[in-house]
Symmetry: C2
Subunit: 419 residues, 2 copies
């Protein structure tokens, strides 16, 4: 992709309403724009980041036995009456009537709809177990949307639902999801903790939250300084719930995932029963497993930035390489740049090529702002077939002679060194 | 994917409210389930079909210079007041107030929002031309949702928007989109026609519709029996608008795409101006280009079925191959099946393996119903290392000796023969 024709406008200053680091950086780096408070539009590069996050989630969900579906945003309110959650969910659910007077809502979560879907076709123990998941837009009427993609009225979630014949089956599904979540957040380069949590409005018997420590976090991660135990809790200092020691560290954290053993709450209230091997009708045992997909963009930037901008983890970066041609009017620089761009493209390396006619200083600043991990800088040494390779994370610069060195080997070494 | 653990329930009979062929087949083949009238849930195999359709669209939009974005479903009503379409669009737009009393809507289309996005960052002729597109869920309060995915309250569209400095630029963008649409619908195996059309509520100077003839179509495609000209129009017979001859054929057709030259309708009303080379402020020249993504599933099935079920075009099929093991209790059949499944998987061929413990007749019927183009049937001849390969389209069956023949070569020959 050539930046001169790519819709990637960067900003020197973030708008005043952006207060936290990730929000400022995602606006300045041209990832998103705000439509109204809590509603964001993804620009081309922001969508690339979102897609990479979604890919990691899909790979790990599929590997854990999940099957992807796509449910609707529109839900009939009567389903929420069936489950008994209509009043509990309250005003946070966006509601409207259609022209025929039917009471509808926009899904803030999908336990009701997935139970409706499952009861269409699940009849027998032979149809179980099954784990269904989707990556889909959710809606909440937030009174105080804020922090960019962290607290929104419209946002993207991955929600998965497991259906089992008994508690042992649920234990297996829950454990498979727990492991998948650990792989997902690790691959994203996140420092995170999985802690026991309340089941709250979801109901059920067991639940775990995945928390990412970050200054803007609205949850609390408590770490015992003595035994290292990690748990959640209230803002006031507590003694460790594990070893009883008094000294704990309290970190603000962003909730990026939450998994629940639901049991039979929805299958009993919404009539999702199956015939067991012995011919008896039993309620299906369910679990549900959420990840805040769009929120992860914020969480990753919160943990991967410096004063110059974003530093994308390799698996999340919108492009593998940023190729910077310092002076696009210089024939030698353009010749060398074109060769590199074509060669890397053929090798399947995704490259953003900064071929814009701007001052070198502006281009260096933009390069560090948008945070692609490897920068290849083509400057005056191009006449000698030499370019610079810069690591965004360390700032280290190495001069490469293209005649002597295999560029893709150099890039592979860089990638290896970073891991 | 092994069918025994895949959530792919087939139905012998379609529900009574399904009247047209594609609707019946998509329910019977386990692609979708209805939540309420006009709102559908995609099951795992339906989502695979949707994703293949989306991939073709993405590839061709990217090749035509499009850049993918993702806009929001929630839109402030004030944007529609700015463009002057608030009253024109009327009750078909779903509207609600949030808890702070803000008047919001769910986007039935996104000209207003994309113009809002463009005016954030487009300032100069240097920022143009650009074509932005998205694949996203739209909402319409349809009084009479019907025909499965053809007329829905919640549906998926690809909408693209071009931004140019002048009319010549718009002509180029429009023409690039026109060509891309022809490639997209051809790759999907559709018999279709592109015809001149009214600009209607979109405004602008020129427009073309892409129509797919099908018995359930709500539009009309008129073909002159003398000169072959294709055009749209009213239900009453007309003489040919091209050669004037009286004899025309009128076919019901489904609209799958519509492209418009918008001109300055939105840029002038919503203040999207740029500075030209001569330093003068001018309104950006826009075009918009829609494809009914989810509706295409219906359109493709309408044109690709027989009395037994669906016959997927190769590029749309949810799996490349259906592997049918007639008796999963038979050790030789399972041995041969496992080998084929593993080998094809390693070669990147996607395989659905029907390893269900059901009667052969049921499995044959299901195989024809779900419409995967190539069936590999492992039966009693497995003891001699022989399997049958059946073409879903022609019904032709060929016996293959796995010792002598390279299975992947046979499949490649089949694929070639079908094209």
């Amino acid at each position: 992709m050539r930046w001169s024709s790519y819709h990637l406008p960067t900003l020197k200053e973030a708008p005043q309403d952006a207060q936290i680091t990730s929000h400022k950086l995602m606006l300045r780096a041209g990832l998103v724009r705000m439509l109204i408070a809590g509603v964001y539009l993804y620009m081309p590069m922001g969508l690339r980041v979102l897609r990479r996050i979604e890919s990691i989630i899909r790979e790990e969900m599929d590997a854990a036995g999940g099957q992807e579906v796509l449910l609707s945003a529109i839900q009939p309110v009567e389903l929420w009456q069936e489950s008994g959650r209509d009043e509990v969910i309250g005003d946070v659910m966006i509601r409207f009537e259609d022209r025929k007077g039917r009471r509808l809502a926009l899904g803030p979560t999908h336990e009701e709809v997935i139970t409706f879907l499952a009861r269409q076709d699940i009849r027998s123990y032979r149809d179980l177990p099954v784990i269904l998941y989707q990556i889909q837009t959710k809606f909440r009427d937030e009174l105080r949307p804020r922090f960019g993609l962290i607290r929104c009225c419209e946002f993207i979630m991955k929600d998965a639902y497991s259906f089992d014949v008994d508690e042992e089956g649920l234990d297996r599904s829950y454990s498979a999801m727990f492991d998948a979540y650990n792989r997902i957040f690790s691959r994203m380069g996140l420092d995170f903790a999985a802690i026991q949590a309340d089941t709250g409005v979801m109901g059920g018997s067991e639940s775990a939250e995945f928390l990412v420590p970050a200054p803007c976090g609205e949850d609390k991660l408590i770490i015992c300084k003595k035994c290292g135990a990690r748990f959640g809790g209230e803002e006031t200092a507590q003694s460790c719930i594990s070893c009883g020691a008094g000294e704990v560290e309290i970190l603000p954290a962003i909730e990026v995932g939450h998994i629940f053993k639901l049991g039979t709450k929805y299958s009993e209230s919404m009539n999702l029963y199956f015939l067991d091997r012995d011919g008896k009708s039993k309620p299906v045992i369910m679990g549900c497993y959420g990840i805040g997909v769009s929120r992860l963009i914020s969480a990753i930037i919160e943990q991967h930035n410096d004063e110059k901008g974003i530093i994308w983890p390799e698996e999340i970066s919108p492009f593998d390489v940023l190729l910077v041609t310092l002076n696009p009017s210089d024939a030698a620089m353009m010749e060398v740049s074109s060769q590199i761009y074509e060669q890397l493209g053929q090798e399947g390396v995704s490259v953003l090529w900064d071929d814009r006619d701007l001052r070198a200083g502006v281009k260096f600043n933009d390069a560090d702002l948008i945070g692609i991990p490897i920068q290849i800088i083509v400057g005056k040494k191009a006449t000698d077939n030499k370019v610079e390779i810069k690591s965004r994370a360390s700032g280290e610069i190495r001069v490469i002679d293209l005649k002597d060195m295999d560029l893709s080997q150099v890039l592979a070494d860089y990638a290896k060194g970073r891991k």
